[in-house]
Amino acid sequence: MLRYILKRLMAGVLTIVILITVAFFMMHAMPGSPFSPAEQKNVPPEILERLAESYGLNRPILEQYLEYWKSLLNGELGISFKKPDTSVNSIIATHFPVSAQVGGIAVIFSLMVGIPLGIVSAMHRGKAADFATMAFATIGISVPTYVFSVLLLWFFAGVCHLSITVWWDQWYNYLLPVACLSFNPIAYIARQTRSSMLEALEADYIRTARAKGVSELMVVAKHALKNAITPVVTYLGPLVAGLLTGSFVVERFFSVPGIGRYFVTSVSDRDYTMIMGIVIFFGVFVVICNLISDILLAVIDPRVKLSK
């Protein structure tokens, strides 16, 4: 087990190193520069020159790359280009917890609703409960999150005349963002659980368990569910990473002061350090989440360790 974890960990570190390198050079390949005179017309060129100097943008790219690694190893993600008075570290430290909180609730909610829905659906295959659940799940995977958010917003603000722009002071302000974030995952988890549950229930080992006189509840809850849950665990890594790092759309619509919206704005702002900071943060987060879900999978399914 320990060897398996170490192996996965090494692969994760390698992934992050390559990710940083790729992201760094990709970003610098972007046409224009944050301080090019052509784009910042109302700033005197000599000031732009000095700014570029202070961020080290005039030096050879390889040197910048090494420089970046040096500060990175000290745990510094650098100073934002857009907001010269704040460090990327502090932006992440301020906004990530908000996203993580909303996202965390959404993850738990998705699992608590999605898995039971899938099981119920599989148990009542072809009956009304199955049909209703799968209709809901099909809507869930077909309707994009942003469309769902817009519709929810339109419904509550336009039809019910509720004010939902205030964020942060009441618990019920969590409801809509969490609902929007977990809408797709619930549908996906329910569908996945249903199909793997159906497959598991038809397996020979389920017949063996029944032949041993295991009760129907234990057949489903113990023998089938443990087998059916593995695809959901695999999906859990990317899901947690995606939800905890925030969604641009949901955060914008519901005025959630999270990290998600910095994603898009920093790229179009060409805020190099901010982009790098978020890419690294996100990358590390994805790698860790995948690692955890891999370990979880190996705990559930002893065959995993052998195949990888």
């Binding site: 972007m30 099909t138 309707v143 469309v147 917003l153 339109w154 996100f282 990358g283 994805v286």
Partner: protein, 320 residues
């Protein structure tokens, strides 16, 4: 003998077994050879088509997509309206007989804009799916078939690509190449083939140790022959399903990019852009939001139903 047809109904029912006429007990050699196959033998793809045709949701989805495609191609040719322009007198009108879906802030007909959007969405969806299909099959096929070190390296590359936040490279590509259909497709194709590649890889790995592949290799088949004549065709079911689900994903992503304002630019109308434009005025004229959103949702539904139907039809285990 000839008086009695070999038919159960001709049997004298009132007759006791021991009293049955003796001509019934003459060996006529009529057994043995006449094997009748009651069910006509059908090919795999014929079965798939039959199963798919019987799925009302999948067929409904397919019909909807075809209709949508035909409308998107032909209606703009004959319609008096254009997707572009400025008509101050008819701004923000609700649905009417002249403008079935109403008009937008510029007085443009929303239905024609949705149909132009359908051209973009369907093109993006189908082209992206085709490109993904080829990249995925080749990448996954090589990785699964060669295995070992090559597989390790290829799979690590895939791992890294999936760790990249998709928005980052999509936005980068859009900025570098400009906002047009081509760059949207390129941006979408950057990583979405990975799912297909993984499916192909695992299928190929599963099949490459089968006996018919061994037989083929023993009879001197080349690697390429084995890969493209044995492995890929046998893995076609899961590949088609994963490709079918790529289409709605691509349409979804394109609409999302336009919705963010970094996709296809005005005055070209993409569904996401239409929805985005309508958000500030959704309280006063919700139809401007609801029609494009309905177009997105119905298309997504249709493609997902088609995908589900294909999966059920291609997977013999689902047949009962």
């Amino acid at each position: 003998m000839t008086a009695i047809e070999p038919n159960a109904r001709a049997l004298p029912e009132q007759c006791a077994y021991s009293d049955l006429p003796s001509e019934l007990f003459v060996m006529d050699g009529n057994g043995g050879e006449d094997e009748q196959i009651v069910r006509p033998s059908t090919t795999y793809w014929h079965d798939v088509w039959q199963a798919f045709r019987r799925d009302p949701l999948a067929m409904g989805g397919a019909i909807f997509i075809v209709l949508m495609g035909l409308c998107a191609i032909f209606i703009p040719m004959v319609s008096p309206y254009s997707y572009d322009g400025f008509f101050p007198l008819i701004r923000n009108q609700g649905p009417s007989w002249e403008h079935l879906c109403g008009t937008d802030q510029m007085g443009r007909d929303i239905m024609i804009r949705i149909l132009y959007g359908a051209r973009i969405s369907l093109t993006v969806g189908i082209v992206a799916a085709v490109i993904n299909f080829f990249i995925g099959v080749i990448y996954g096929g090589i990785s699964g078939y060669v295995g070992g070190m090559v597989d390790m390296v290829l799979m690590r590359i895939v791992d890294i690509l999936t760790s990249l936040p998709s928005l980052l490279y999509i936005v980068l590509i859009m900025l570098v190449l400009g906002s047009n259909v081509g760059s949207v497709i390129l941006a979408l194709c950057f990583t979405s083939w990975i799912g297909t590649a993984r499916v192909v890889r695992s299928e190929v790995m599963r099949l490459k140790h089968s006996e018919y592949v061994l037989a083929s290799r023993l009879s001197g088949a080349t690697t390429r022959h084995i890969l493209f004549h044995h492995l890929i065709p046998n893995a076609m079911g899961p590949i088609i399903v994963s490709t079918a689900f790529l289409i709605p994903n691509a349409i979804f992503s394109e609409a999302f990019l336009s919705f963010l304002g970094i996709g296809i630019q005005a005055p070209m109308a993409s569904w996401g852009a239409l929805a985005n434009e309508a958000i500030p005025i959704m309280m006063t004229s919700p139809h401007q939001l609801l029609f494009p959103v309905a177009a997105i949702c119905l298309t997504m539904f249709s493609f997902n139903f088609i995908g589900d139907g294909l999966r059920d039809a291609l997977d013999p285990r689902m047949k009962h």
